[in-house]
Symmetry: C2
DNA sequence: ACAAAAGTGTTATACGTACACCCATGC
DNA sequence: GCATGGGTGTACGTATAACACTTTTGT
C-alpha cells in the first residue's frame, strides 16, 4: 500500500501596520483533525513537482501567483505515526509572501486566518484573538514522535498532526539562514527599511529589537541588501532609506 | 495514480590507507537505467519511516547496523521528468559510515563499488579504475531538469536518474555545514587526527590540504572536537593527537 | 526649537591569518 | 643526530560590538 503524499506549506507574511511577522493557519473542515487548526495542505498531482504544488496551494488559497524563488523546501516528514490511521508523508515547504492579503476559508477549510508570530520563553507563539498555539518545546525527534500518539489534544491549544514540530523545524531553519540567505525578508515586499529587517531578525532570534544595533546591522549585512531610495516619512523623525534583497543571495549562486 | 517513493542514500566513507573520501555507487541490474551506475536506492515500507529505511538500506547492502545520528535527510526530489516513464519521488539521505567495509553486489545490483571522491575545476569527481563520474556543472534547478530528458546518456560517463544533481546538492550541503555541524567527520571513525579532519575539509572546500593551516584549524574548530589521547605513530615524526566529535554538534542541541 | 527617528562615525576588542618556532618519533 | 611530522606561540590585520554623534523630518 502506497502512502498518501501531502504538501504542507508554511506561509509567512508581514503586517506593515502592526509590524509583526504573520503565519497562515487553517481550521480543518474534514478528518483527520477535523476542527483543529493546522498548516495548509494540498495533495500533489501526478503531473506537477512538489515545488509547483506548493505554489499552486498559494494560488488557490490566497490568490497570489508567485515566482518560484518565493518558495523553498523545508524537509519531508515520514514518521509512520504522524497521522493516526492511514500512512501519510508530508513534503513541507515554506512560502514568503510579499504582501498580506485578506483570507477566505477555501476548499477543505472551515476558517483561515493570519496568526501573529512572536516568542515566549524559548518557544515561538502564534496568536489570533483568543487562540494561541506554540511550537513544540521538545528538542529531540524521537522523543517528540513517541509522545505524539497519546498526548492531550485540545483543538484550542494544540495544532493538528505533527505541525508544532514541523513549525519548530521551520523556525530553526529560518534562524540559521538569517545571516547568509535571509529569504524570509521577502515577506517585507520589494523594498524595506533596515528597521523592518531588524524586526524580522529579532523575532526569529528571540531577542528584543533594540538589542540589534542599526549601525552594526547595516555593516554586517551590507552584502545582502542594496539601497534603492528613501521612504516617504509620515511620522516625526528622519525618513528611512529603503533597500532590496540582492537576488544573488536568495538562490544558490 | 500514486507516485513511487524511493529512498536514495548517499553513503560516505573514508579510506585510511589512501586518505581519500569515498562514495558508494551501484551498477543497476534492472530498469530503469539498467547497467548505469547510480546511488543506492530502496523502497520505503509501510511501517517504517524514511530515516529507518535509509538505515535499513545500509544494513542490507553493507551489513552495518548504525545509530540514527549517522544518517541525515538531504532533500526530496520530485521533478516529474526525473525518471523516464513512471512517476517517482526520491527522498534523499546521506549516511556517514565510521569504516569502509568491502562491498558485495546485493539485490538489484550487478556491481557495487567505492569511488574515491575528489574535485576537478569546480566539479566534484568520483573515480574507480577506468570509471569517472562528475557532479553536474549546471547551477540552476530548472535548467538542469530541462536538459535532463534529452541529454547524451553514456553509462560510462553519466550517472543514472538525476543523481549527478542530487550529488551536487549533497556536496554543497556538506560544505555549508563544515564549520558548524560537520557530521561528515563521522566517516573518520570514533577518533581522528586533525590532519585527517583537514583532509576531509579540503576536498569539500575544493582547496589543497596545505592551504588549511593546522594551528588555525585547531583554534577555529576547537568547539567541535575534544582531545582523547595520542595516536601510536608508525612513521617518523611526532605522533598526532586524536580527537573526537562533540556529540552536541551533530544533533540540533 | 525640540523631540523623534534614522544615518554616520569612532574606538576597543575579538577573531582569523600567516608564519616562526619548538617537540617527539623513527632510522 | 637528523629528517620528518606535528604541536605551540606570536604578531599582524581585519572584522565585530558598543556607543557617541550628526542629520532630517514633524509639530
Amino acid at each position: 500500500m502506497q502512502p498518501k503524499i501531502t504538501i504542507t506549506n508554511i506561509i509567512w507574511s508581514f503586517d506593515h501596520t502592526t509590524k509583526h511577522v504573520n503565519l497562515l493557519l487553517v481550521k480543518r473542515a474534514d478528518a483527520p483533525f477535523k476542527d483543529y487548526w493546522a498548516l495548509p495542505e494540498t495533495v500533489m498531482r501526478p503531473s506537477e513537482s512538489a515545488d509547483t504544488a506548493a505554489l499552486r496551494l498559494v494560488r488557490e488559497k490566497i490568490g497570489l501567483e508567485l515566482a518560484s524563488f518565493h518558495t523553498e523546501q523545508l524537509a519531508t516528514f515520514t514518521q509512520p505515526n504522524r497521522v493516526p490511521g492511514d500512512r501519510s508523508l508530508s513534503l513541507a515547504y515554506m512560502t514568503f509572501l510579499p504582501e498580506m492579503p485578506p483570507l477566505t476559508a477555501g476548499y477543505g477549510a472551515a476558517d483561515a486566518r493570519w496568526f501573529t508570530f512572536d516568542y515566549e520563553a524559548t518557544q515561538y507563539r502564534l496568536q489570533n484573538d483568543q487562540l494561541i498555539f506554540h511550537t513544540t518545546a521538545i528538542k529531540d525527534h524521537d522523543t517528540y514522535y513517541n509522545q505524539l500518539t497519546d498526548r492531550s489534544a485540545d483543538p484550542n491549544t494544540t495544532l493538528g498532526f505533527d505541525h508544532d514540530w514541523i513549525l519548530k523545524v521551520a523556525c530553526q531553519r529560518i534562524c540559521n539562514k538569517l545571516d547568509y540567505q535571509p529569504n524570509i525578508l521577502l515577506i517585507l515586499g520589494d523594498y524595506f527599511t533596515l528597521k523592518r529587517a531588524r524586526t524580522v531578525f529579532a523575532v526569529f532570534q528571540q531577542v528584543p529589537l533594540e538589542s540589534i544595533d542599526n549601525s552594526n546591522f547595516k555593516k554586517n549585512h551590507k552584502h545582502l541588501f542594496k539601497p534603492v531610495g528613501t521612504s516617504s516619512a509620515k511620522h516625526p523623525g528622519r525618513p528611512a532609506k529603503e533597500y532590496q534583497l540582492n537576488y544573488f543571495d536568495l538562490t544558490n549562486e
